[in-house]
């Protein structure tokens, strides 16, 4: 089945995947709004949530256009089940404490930053344009999460312990970010996107450098968890979507 993947189908899958990652990551961060550890951090994390949900709108609109069945960004966000969502498992993981959230965001940012940089050269005009706009924002996200990794890793014994714990807990979701799927192969072939595996070295170098400065050690994981891009998620995503989609699901066909 995958062998017969058309470029347009692959483009749709990719835009959807990007939209799902940014939407779910942004949604999770928005859970912090009104409960950040300080007012300034409440504002900053909400800002990142805003950027990501904004990016999700661009990607999901593009996905809808590519599909050509008239589905809007909201149809795609609110009327798909968890089995149809293709975000990484990492993005849907619960916030935990502030440290755990920072770890999740940092790992995602390192990947996201490299990917967007690579997408600037996409032969697909809209993909390159969304990437260019997003990259400005994600450059800031990466700086923010890196600074907090270092600040908390090298802060107090307690913050260090929490960060190491967060890292040990979330690391098992990192491998999935660099897996190449059929979609990626089709798009890389056509120079519309790149192979995720090609981003791994640069991303890992950055992660290692930040962990070193943060006095944190890199966890060892025997098996990475995977499945998000096939719609095989953790149990958390169903709950997230049940909340997020509740109003449009309760009042089908209404405009808001």
């Amino acid at each position: 089945m995958d062998n017969s993947l058309s470029p347009n189908q692959a483009l749709f899958n990719f835009a959807l995947h990007m939209g799902d990652n940014t939407l779910i990551a942004g949604h999770r961060l928005s859970e912090w709004t009104s409960q950040g550890p300080a007012l300034e951090q409440d504002i900053a994390i909400t800002n990142i949530a805003l950027d990501l949900v904004g990016q999700a709108r661009s990607w999901l609109s593009l996905a809808g256009e590519l599909e050509g069945k008239g589905r809007s960004e909201d149809d795609l966000a609110y009327l798909r089940s968890d089995r149809e969502y293709t975000n990484f498992l990492l993005c849907e993981q619960p916030n935990g404490d502030w440290g755990m959230t920072i770890v999740r965001q940092f790992l995602f940012d390192c990947y996201h930053f490299e990917l967007l940089n690579a997408l600037l050269d996409s032969k697909h005009e809209q993909i390159a344009a969304i990437a260019a706009k997003s990259l400005k924002e994600v450059t800031y996200h990466l700086r923010y999460s890196s600074e907090w990794m270092i600040r908390l890793g090298d802060g107090t014994p307690e913050s260090h312990k929490r960060m190491q714990n967060g890292l040990d807990e979330r690391w098992r979701f990192l491998g999935e970010l660099f897996e190449d799927t059929e979609t990626d192969k089709v798009l890389a072939e056509a120079e519309l996107s790149v192979l995720p595996s090609s981003l791994e070295e640069a991303a890992m170098n950055r992660i290692e450098a930040v962990l070193k400065e943060a006095t944190l050690s890199q966890p060892e994981v025997k098996h990475f968890q995977t499945g998000g891009r096939k719609g095989i998620h953790s149990e958390y995503l169903g709950h997230l979507l049940a909340v997020m989609q509740s109003v449009p699901r309760a009042y089908p066909g209404q405009s808001w």
Binding site: S34, P37, T46, V53
Partner: protein
Amino acid sequence: MPVEGSNKTDNQDFMKIFDARIERDEKVEPKDWMPDAYRKTLIRQISQHAHSEVIGMQPEGNWILRAPSLRRKVALLAKVQDEAGHGLYLYSAAETLGIERDELYQQLLDGKAKYSSIFNYPTLTWADMGAVGWLVDGAAIMNQVMLTRTSYGPYARAMVRICKEESFHQRQGYEILLHLVKGSEAQKDMAQDALNRWWWPSLMMFGPTDSESTHSEQSMAWKIKRKSNDELRQAFVDATVPQAEVLGLTIPDPDLKWNEERGHYDFGPIDWDEFWQVVKGDGPCNRERMAHYTKAYEEGAWVREAAMAYAEKKQKRREAAKSDLQVA
């Protein structure tokens, strides 16, 4: 800066200068001498205002995860974020009066400081995001536009910035309702229900009626406040009734009618028992709002401590590097 209370004759002179400044409608600035009571009143009012912005994030935060479209989600997130920003400006304004932010937080945590009672009501449906923006931000604007001319400079300037954003919030809320009333029967009902629940609490936002208001008279004399509670409440009703008509919604007040002679709308009596009940801590969500705030504050403690510890380490390392250089 003149030291207060050092000398009685001095104080009387300063008082004359202060009164004359107020009389001339000039702003009082942080370095100027001011009577103790003026300073205390301002700290109380500005911090209460700051706390309201911050606690006010919760009722709307309650719908961020359930906003029914991505456009609405982004707009709501941005709005709640603005309120956090308002809190920041206002805490900074309060700090110019010589009080630390941490002390103000502590007063809120200890239940010594108040915040606007309106935020002790629950947000039950999506239409509440419309009603809160339209009515609550709308009522806040009435008060805040007045405060752009308040006698204390930093407070007045904070208000100018805040007012611009508040009127945007109000339009955003109104637009949510405008969309709902054009929708299905269920959506229209949702909008009407939200108006029913938020109308009276919004009128209570202006505080007790003038004859009952304890702080008002002195605040008016000092030009901290420039309009009375009842004047502001009337202005709000007059501005809001036509907007409700455009929406095709009914304001839940059988006594509401235009009074040709007064040139204002008459409205029915406010339930002051309810008002005092909520002010004194027994509103529907007082406990929840404080529990949410306290939990976030406590859970953030290790983060704030670590950030401080790291900043100190960094500072020490910088100093060590500097002295190494000097030795070399």
